[in-house]
Symmetry: C2
Subunit: 421 residues, 2 copies
Amino acid sequence: MAQSYRIELLTLGNELLLGLRANTHLDWLGGELAAAGLTLARNTVIGDDPEEIASCFREAWRSGEIIITTGGLGPTTDDLTRETLARILGVSLVHHPPTEAALRERFAAMGREPTPNNLKQTYLLEGAEAIPNPNGTAPGQWLQRDGRTLIMLPGPPFELQPMWRDAVLPRLRRAGYITEQCGSLQIRTSGVGESRVETELQPVFDGYPGRLQVAYCAHQGVVDVRLTSVGHSLSQEEITAIGEVCRERLGSGFVGFGDPSLAQLVLRGLRERERTLALAESCTGGMLASAFTDICGASKVFAGGVVCYNNDAKIQILDVPECLLQQHGAVSAETAVAMATAAAERFDTDYALSTTGYAGPSGGSDAYPVGTVFLGLHAPGGAWGRRLHYRGNRGAVQQRTVHAALDWLWRFLNEEDAADV
Amino acid sequence: MAQSYRIELLTLGNELLLGLRANTHLDWLGGELAAAGLTLARNTVIGDDPEEIASCFREAWRSGEIIITTGGLGPTTDDLTRETLARILGVSLVHHPPTEAALRERFAAMGREPTPNNLKQTYLLEGAEAIPNPNGTAPGQWLQRDGRTLIMLPGPPFELQPMWRDAVLPRLRRAGYITEQCGSLQIRTSGVGESRVETELQPVFDGYPGRLQVAYCAHQGVVDVRLTSVGHSLSQEEITAIGEVCRERLGSGFVGFGDPSLAQLVLRGLRERERTLALAESCTGGMLASAFTDICGASKVFAGGVVCYNNDAKIQILDVPECLLQQHGAVSAETAVAMATAAAERFDTDYALSTTGYAGPSGGSDAYPVGTVFLGLHAPGGAWGRRLHYRGNRGAVQQRTVHAALDWLWRFLNEEDAADV
């Protein structure tokens, strides 16, 4: 039974404190650590101020076992991480010729010469290993000292993320922080409220007091449950077995282990059946299409979609009959069905989904207030319209609608399967 | 000349450390404070652990002047902020009958009775004022003590944000933390690299040593420059005048003050001209349409769009000639132009934008590697195709493409204006 380690993340950058950029390192690294069975204890976000960096780092070095810093490794005068940490630890900065060679090669490829500022980046803390950065000029650093491990990484996510996976995780494994017995699992559910998920699953988790850390996270119709072994008290096999019990209890609310998107599951389901899909979007205005086109290779299944943003577009592009729009209105189950069927016909696909509604803040009527949405589904066996109502601002209504449409088609495909048996 | 205040933000929640949810409070509150001329000194993210909360709060109370906490005010056992802070400050929790009345009323409207856990939420720190929460059960708290101000807010953003604007900002003003002389301004640029923006503007800023805080933030083709008065050393008028000098130096790279989106500017430009727009998207798969439909009231200008995700769709829906696709390929300037023109015809609009390209990770050819994108623009005066190349992953290529298309049409409309003069 191995111990658990206290991990501190220090994120540097004035732009984060001014609200100019989101701190994506917290959720990305937090998720990576959790997946490896490690837990982040604290994240501190500070500006590019040497005294602030010094006081935070001193505190982290006192209480933490693994200290990760991001940012402040660049060439400019406000990049102070290297110098400040060397001062606090009482070590010197040592020139690292291989890093200089890599830097000069990188600049030569761009037809440029490094400036003296850039050469600052070729110095490492005494005793540190360089972590190569294939996507930028600043290498990371890995230092073990006084029973602690310091990991310094650059700020840009597209530099940090490959360095973490290719160089830091293997070092954490070699150093014994990550072991194979260390278990974690994410369970994804859809269409079940957070409190119902908790009610269903808590009795399972109660069987592992003090050994299982459970975190719930609800976002736009999906509830994720992350199970992590406390320390190394549960192996991956044990966590997987707990996950199977949860799957059974969740029934049709269970989506999958890990973080499969419903769009991915729908595409996979259609690909397995050699079926195709088209979309006709009004109130979601392209967001449903984006959910599919985020996935590389979607074009084998997803033919395309139409965004009909005004009534004319519905009539012209989709041939939704004008009389139908007049009789039932653009926001109606009838129009949703007509849109889906027209999309399937125009794109020559087996399935089609449609959305039409009042996302707000203006629009709506007494019968159909803001938040009212209709979904349409065209399938080889028929076509259906469904009414939904969501609270929240425009973006929230749109995202919930996208989720509901994906959830509907995903369940529909599963039920078709069940009926085939 | 007023002083500047040290502000600390403590964000509570296990889900943030496990990577299950992004910490949106940092960028939202950071931006709100910066806009009010205040600067966040530090954000600490911790889990729902009483010892961790206690040690962080002790440190924040020691070094900070305004301490903001988010989260941990709910009814469940892991909501510990109230109790822990009362303990550290050595004050008792006092029952607050108006909060209980509001809570009971809220539950009655849902046909439910509050549980004993819910009633925990009706207790305030001794000496604190309740900050009403119209969107949830947990009130916020405002406490001034020992020359410091404590602001406790609930975790859900849709509860926190209106409470901040409606109740906290006015209190900060009344308490003298925010004064009218306190200046700030955001300058938005497009199509100019971060280093060029800095080179152009730094000489301006050098005229205000120690009085002006400048932060740059580049995101997908936009570079924002945020100017904030250090303390209250520059008034809003002075900052506005500095902004005007920057505007002149930036020339056509200047987009606007504040955070106007290019989609908003394009829609406004078209609305002023009583012109309409359609889209034909391939590689951006609905993202460009989303940029417009995020904006309420877009339908007066934006008729709709087509997402053509495979060649068949381009032919069937848009009537892009098959021979053109065969001769030039689906990813070509010719196809981009044909798509834009077809979209304008099908939706009967004055303008149309189109995108086609290889967003990656697979696809592409020797001549057109992954990252190659063609944009098409149809306007009353003609139709043009343009080749671009972006590095980065699929999502980054898609977002840069969306930005480039918006930037193109925005500049095109501006130049039409200039030509009319």
